[in-house]
Symmetry: C2
Subunit: 404 residues, 2 copies
């Protein structure tokens, strides 16, 4: 097989969230009667249950009908007025200065920002430290750009006042020549928030060893229980080579517009724009208009959304925890849960397929987040509350049929 053939053979999407329809139909060992109920797709949030920020569509309509050509064709890095407006809002939110002219870029979703940032920083053979577990695309991106994945462990069951990153291991791999460290905070899929001490130490180590940082803060607005959150970019010791990624696709339910933003070091942002010029030119010009509603939600809207999600988390965590053999860390921020299931007769990918076909419940297998998570699944609980509880009940029932 050619080099590029091998690369694509590794780059699977069949088990990725939202791609379940592409799964090969195996003959599955169904046990017991099907469990009927409203289909729930935990692979991503349900924007029918939690609709986009009010007025975002109005901004898009205005962009198409009134702003016109200027909205359709922006610079590759995004429209200058939108960049300026967002730099003001995000500076306040993240507590750091953002240069809207040179240090910021609008992208097609945060996935777009991740791809561009990785493309800007990862060359052939470069060592990239990746947390396990972390967002499934992180590892695929390193492979696509011919980098070398250097995993760093996170003991997320061992603590609840920090994420649980193995800082000793992190320093070891930094010392061992890691060029870039990419991580999500809050962590996807665990929903753990890094403590101020952890963030401070990561910044310190990155500066000391000359490691570049990409911090994916996609879920940083949806913090539960009034917990604190530390933006690495606001730390005094933040390293020079740093990109922070944010976007309105999750809590704000605006994924359908494919909008993301990255800010940080000018030279990295400049490379990201060069790459965007050949990848997709720009985030859809008309969609960029929807950014106007972000961080300008109606009074109480965001607070209400957080309360509703916290309630669903409480309900699901309670159901999962009370089931013998299931271990789960309550989400501290974001909409993910990453429960560990007891030993089953079937492997996790098979269980996920059975669950989908026999109980209309779609979840993402843990192995998407690191090869060792063969006993875990990820759930996005941004769903209709009643439907979500019923789906978890069906899942637990089905699980009991396959327990070892």
């Amino acid at each position: 097989m050619s080099t590029i053939g091998k690369k694509f053979a590794k780059l699977g999407v069949d088990n990725a969230p939202g791609q379940e329809g592409r799964c090969k139909e195996d003959s599955l060992d169904f046990r017991g009667e099907p469990l009927p109920g409203r289909a729930v797709d935990f692979s991503h949030g349900d924007v029918d249950a939690f609709p986009p920020i009010p007025n975002s569509l109005k901004h898009v309509i205005n962009g198409v009908e009134h702003i016109g050509a200027r909205q359709a064709y922006t610079e590759y890095r995004g429209g200058s007025e939108t960049l300026f407006m967002l730099s003001e809002k995000l500076s306040l939110f993240a507590g750091c200065a953002i240069d809207s002219l040179q240090g910021m870029i609008l992208t097609p979703g945060t996935q777009g920002a991740l791809f561009l940032a990785m493309g800007a920083l990862v060359g052939r053979g470069d060592k990239v430290a990746i947390v396990e577990p972390d967002y499934f695309a992180n590892r695929k991106l390193v492979e696509f750009f011919d980098g070398e994945i250097v995993p760093v462990k996170m003991d997320y069951f061992g603590c609840n006042d920090r994420a649980g990153l193995d800082m000793e291991q992190l320093e070891n791999v930094f010392r061992g020549g890691v060029k870039l460290f990419l991580f999500s905070n809050p962590n996807n899929p665990v929903g753990a928030v890094y403590s101020q001490q952890e963030i401070h130490a990561i910044a310190e180590l990155a500066g000391h060893y000359g490691v570049s940082l990409i911090v994916d803060e996609l879920y940083s607005r949806q913090i539960f229980d009034g917990r604190g959150y530390t933006h690495l970019c606001a730390e005094k010791n933040a390293p020079a080579q740093l990109v922070t990624i944010l976007g309105p696709s999750k809590t704000e339910s605006m994924s359908g517009y494919r909008l993301g933003v990255a800010f940080g070091s000018r030279d990295i942002i400049e490379r990201m724009e060069k790459l965007q010029a050949i990848v997709s030119l720009r985030a859809a010009g008309y969609c960029q208009a929807a950014f106007a509603s972000w961080f300008s939600e109606p009074a109480g809207w965001m607070a209400g959304r957080i309360v509703e999600h916290q309630q669903i988390r409480d309900d699901l965590v309670s159901m999962l925890s009370s089931c013998d053999g299931v271990q789960v860390r309550p989400t501290e921020a974001g909409s993910y849960l990453f429960p560990q299931l007891p030993p089953l007769d079937v492997d996790i990918k098979t269980f996920v397929k059975i669950l989908r076909q026999h109980a209309q419940v779609t979840v993402t297998p843990g192995t998407e987040f690191g090869p060792q998570f063969t006993d875990s699944i990820r759930i996005n609980f941004s769903q209709d509350a009643v439907a979500a509880c019923s789906a978890i009940e069906r899942m637990l029932c089905l699980m009991s049929r396959y327990r070892k």
Copy 2:
């Protein structure tokens, strides 16, 4: 400089269309008084002069407000209903069977399709044949994926019944180990259409030498003078490894939605989807709804648009041709002209900067389309007709001040 540093140093965007605001401000040799007039940006079409297909926005609004989650989150390759609908329309248009399930993908613009197709096919060191002149991103894409550009000449001034591709050279480079041939038909920037004989010969040679083909047919709906057009995918001898790219960003003025489509060999489309999963997940879900208006324009709308563009072409070609020392091939399809200017006292990039600052006229330097086009500029004449004529007049006036 690191390998990746060198790669990005080559990947310039400052002179790319739409990025003129990023040009370094040099001290320019202005001659004579400024030439006032309405600013015209010939680097891309003006969607205020030629607005998007009627009803496209309504489809988007319906997608957001009524279809909801199903519209926001499609499979990475696009929503299955949209894929099916488009496969029917495009099969009719291109005259070939399209497999909507396995052989088609929706992308963020045709730029997105090009990037994914190139990423799917170009590995380190692979030889890729590129027409000169051709779309400026083609060469950049080869460089980004570490391929080797193998240029093929097109004698576009030497004929008017075919594009003028050097078929002997094409066969030589195919024989010499070229793996992939990428070309646009109609050609961007010349506006030349490949003859049936040329298309047939390209297909034949590709099959014979086992070369993969990417055919960018972005402007294939805007054909002037009732000329014929040959879709390579419809040729009986079309090779197995073939991707055709189309989209509604140009004639249809829908660039602000960032929509493109690629269809062809299943294995290439499958790779493109795998890549899309880490690049930007999908073409913006809500925007995908706008595809419903494509190839379903109101009666007479497309014909009227073609007539209007043909008239502008006639006016500009007449102005340019009557200027001593300027050579131009009349556009056969699409909205581009690629006139060759007489020898000037300043290089083409400098002239383009002076033109922009002194006469409010933005054009793209020929060097974006091949290093040898130091005396040519590209013009997108999808503009307000009166403003376009006035801008060309100013350009010719300014040009006279810098003639050798």
